[in-house]
């Protein structure tokens, strides 16, 4: 048994860590966020050069042919740097959707462009993953020789500026919809997190191409997305803790660093304690996709729901340790706070994901 990263995985982590520390510093994040861009193209370019977009795409299609564990390792680093690039949908869920759900023709058409980063895809599965809000629902129908979609999909991940969308219909089928297609409207949705973008899609007899081997793929990409979000949150949480520890060492009150006050020390100790076991939970969730696919949904549910709860605790506690400074924009701590906040809500709240975990184990109908 070896419950750890391989040398290759550590190499991937180190290379992303190194590159991100150079290109995704807080100033860059802030500039992107304040410009309302929610993606930095030069960061995207550099990371694609490192293979980010093609991680999960087979080598035959120009990708690295790696697995979810490598994606989780990268996601953690992106979370650490609150990097403003699409990842969870564009580099994890969409490649898996097409890789697992597309036929050879579809894979040939889409994956190479996705692997090199020239094609970015949003993923519209919120209604299946988190439940339908408002009147959101998507139905697929045949119209002549065409397959068309009607309805409305909310909270489309990595949707802004995407070249195409992977869309789930109400029966679990997956479809590809190109940006600019007739009968397609997109509405940008702003969230507290300025580092990643979501949109709404409205379909009115919009031509769409079904993924032809889509059975069961929807749940798999949701599970993979959940693990990836958990990894992102883990990275963000680790950084918030480290920032709290660093700030406490510097900040003096009553003639001593606040790090020497037991209350502050214990807040940090509690954050560290909660965060430590999260890594194993995330890694294991990612590992199951390849090695125990039948256990993926449950492992992903544990990872997502637990890290969500830890994330809320850490976001709040680290901010408290920073005192007023945590509430200002000056140190940018809130970028991590907000990243954790949205990760919690995407692809199923902890409450909902736990309910799924109960059903998966036969504890509930």
């Amino acid at each position: 048994m070896d419950f750890g990263l391989s040398e290759e995985q550590e190499l991937i982590r180190d290379s992303f860590q190194g590159t991100l520390s150079r290109i995704s510093d807080l100033d860059t994040v802030r500039q992107t966020a304040e410009a309302g861009a929610s993606m930095d193209k030069s960061i995207w370019g550099e990371l694609c050069a490192l293979g980010m977009a093609g991680l999960l795409i087979g080598e035959d299609y120009g990708g690295a042919g790696l697995n979810l564990l490598e994606a989780a390792v990268v996601a953690e680093e992106l979370g650490r740097r609150v990097t403003p690039v699409p990842f969870v949908a564009s580099a994890v869920m969409a490649p898996l959707a097409i890789g697992l759900g597309g036929d050879e023709e579809q894979r040939r058409e889409w994956l190479p462009g996705m692997a090199d980063g020239s094609l970015r895809l949003g993923v519209a599965v919120s209604e299946a993953a988190a439940g339908a809000r408002e009147d959101a629902s998507v139905t697929a129908a045949s119209k002549g020789n065409d397959n068309v979609l009607n309805g409305r999909a909310l909270f489309v991940l990595d949707g802004a500026g995407a070249d195409a969308y992977v869309v789930a219909d109400g029966t679990g089928g997956l479809h590809l919809v190109r940006a600019g297609e007739s009968g397609l409207d997109t509405v940008d949705l702003k969230t507290i997190d300025r580092t990643r973008a979501i949109t709404e899609l409205r379909f009115d007899n919009t031509p769409a191409e079904p993924l032809r081997q889509g059975d069961g793929v929807l749940q798999t990409i949701i599970d993979a997305g959940r693990v990836t979000l958990a990894a992102d949150s883990l990275g963000a949480g680790e950084v918030m803790l480290q920032q709290a520890v660093d700030y406490a060492a510097e900040r003096k009150q009553f003639g001593r660093p606040i790090a020497s006050f037991q209350a502050v020390k214990h807040m940090c100790a509690e954050m560290a304690s909660e965060l430590q076991p999260c890594r194993a939970l995330v890694w294991y969730g990612a590992y199951t996709m390849e090695h125990d696919p039948g256990g993926l949904s449950l492992a992903a549910a544990f990872a997502k729901s637990h890290v969500d709860e830890v994330g809320r605790f850490v976001a709040r506690t680290a901010t408290e340790v920073h005192g007023g400074m945590g509430f200002t924009d000056l140190m940018g701590l809130h970028y991590w706070f907000k990243r954790l906040g949205v990760n919690r809500a995407y692809l199923g709240s902890p409450e909902r994901v736990r309910a799924e975990a109960a059903r998966l184990q036969g504890f509930a109908a």
Binding site: R133, T191, F327
Partner: protein, 403 residues
């Protein structure tokens, strides 16, 4: 225990209702709550409304007539009746800004006759808006280590230094401020409490960007600001004592049970109006249980406030019961915001002018702002120190040995 109105109070309640029936069309529509979130220039209608309330004894009731108040005896129940009736009518109450809630009581207790004559009337009528200059970048929890200096020059002080967390500084006409006038005295004994106009030369106000995205706070820089020594309130060098009476008022202000009730009602509306997969979220047993848990807490805080008011009315000093209000109230509000966000799911992370946004984005803004309040006005950690030391009589942190 008697929670029913006696005859006098029944009559009073009717009077308040009559006033509201006749005048509520004059009330500014904006709720006190959203006003507090984003300080801005007081609209003329707000000042007029405030003046009307003062004239009718519906706010600042117990301020002596000599200083522009209504001169009524303390009657806790009447204050409660006013609050309840305004709340029921959904009409903005008398303002509760820092001038009214903090400066006025302090000045009544420590000010000279001339200061009282000059400042109290326009303050309670909101003709003067105040801001508070206490915190400094290196004096937050440890407020008494502040370094803004006031050096003598004839009959004036020359003030230099910087304040931070100055809410409303960009709209305030006046500031009440702690400055160090006796640099050689022990740190708690060299501080004076002083008031001066914000348009005095040498004052620069810079908005402080916060996590909510809207600048609720400011930094204020003083460069050779000249202020007459006569503007000191209380004795020179005793500003720490003067300020502490004010801080107590702030701590009460921040944990207001009406605010929690307001949040609770909004959460209830979300549970009733929002749906998931076509079913109202009130059907979700987990959210419902969290709601009832918090409802019990809100109820406890409201009733506790009534008990504290009663005790104050009986002349009992402020004790443990008062000390816990800020800690609990701020936490409760933050929990209510968090529940609202969770109920909304992905809608709950939307912000700014996003389509689908609920309540103008108030849920996220409040979730962050209320976390700011947990931190501000004495962090939760400082509150716990105070509760354990002053409330429970536990020893202070021992002095640290010099290394």
């Amino acid at each position: 225990m008697d929670l029913n109105d006696q005859t006098e109070h029944k009559v009073f309640r009717e009077e308040v209702r009559t006033f509201l029936d006749g005048n509520k069309h004059l009330a500014p529509g904006e709720s006190a709550f959203s006003f507090r979130m984003r300080p801005r220039n007081l609209a003329e209608d707000v000042r007029r409304w405030q003046g009307l309330l003062v004239d009718h004894g519906l706010t600042s009731r117990t301020i002596p007539k000599a200083y522009g108040g209504y001169g009524a005896d303390v009657d806790i129940l009447k204050s409660r009746i006013i609050a309840d009736e305004f709340f029921a009518a959904n009409v903005i109450q008398g303002l509760g800004n820092q001038g009214i809630s903090m400066l006025v009581p302090t000045m009544l207790e420590h000010g000279t006759e001339e200061q009282k004559q000059r400042y109290i009337r326009p303050t309670i009528r909101s003709e003067i808006v105040w801001c508070q200059g206490y915190s400094e970048p290196n004096a937050g929890s440890d407020l008494a280590s502040l370094t803004t200096s006031a050096t003598e020059d004839g009959d004036d002080f020359i003030i230099n230094g910087q304040k931070i967390w100055t809410s409303g500084a960009h709209i305030a006409e006046m500031i009440f401020c702690l400055v160090r006038t006796e640099p050689d005295a022990p740190k708690h004994e060299g501080i004076s409490y002083i008031v001066f106009p914000m348009d005095t030369p040498g004052i620069e106000v810079r908005p402080l960007q916060t996590m909510t995205g809207s600048p609720s706070f400011n930094e204020v820089f003083f460069t050779d600001v000249r202020v007459p020594m006569a503007n000191v309130v209380g004795n020179r060098g005793q500003g720490w004592v003067v300020a502490n009476s004010t801080l107590k008022h702030e701590r009460g202000l921040l944990g207001d049970a009406n605010r929690s009730l307001d949040s609770l009602l909004r959460v209830r509306k979300l549970l009733q109006n929002e749906s998931l997969d076509g079913r109202p979220l009130m059907e979700n047993p987990l959210f419902r249980d969290r709601f009832i848990r918090l409802q019990a807490r809100v109820q406890a805080m409201r009733l506790h406030e009534m008990r504290m008011i009663t005790e104050a009315g009986k002349g009992k000093g402020r004790g443990l019961g008062d000390m816990v209000v800020k800690l609990l109230g701020c936490e409760l509000n933050h929990q209510l915001d968090g529940l609202g966000i969770d109920i909304l799911g992905e809608i709950g992370v939307l912000y700014d002018d996003s389509p689908l946004l609920r309540d103008g984005g108030a849920w996220q803004a409040n979730f962050m702002f209320d976390l700011g309040l947990i931190i501000g006005g004495g962090t939760a950690q400082i509150q716990k120190n105070i509760i354990s030391e002053r409330g429970l009589g536990m020893p202070r942190e021992p002095k640290v040995a010099q290394a």
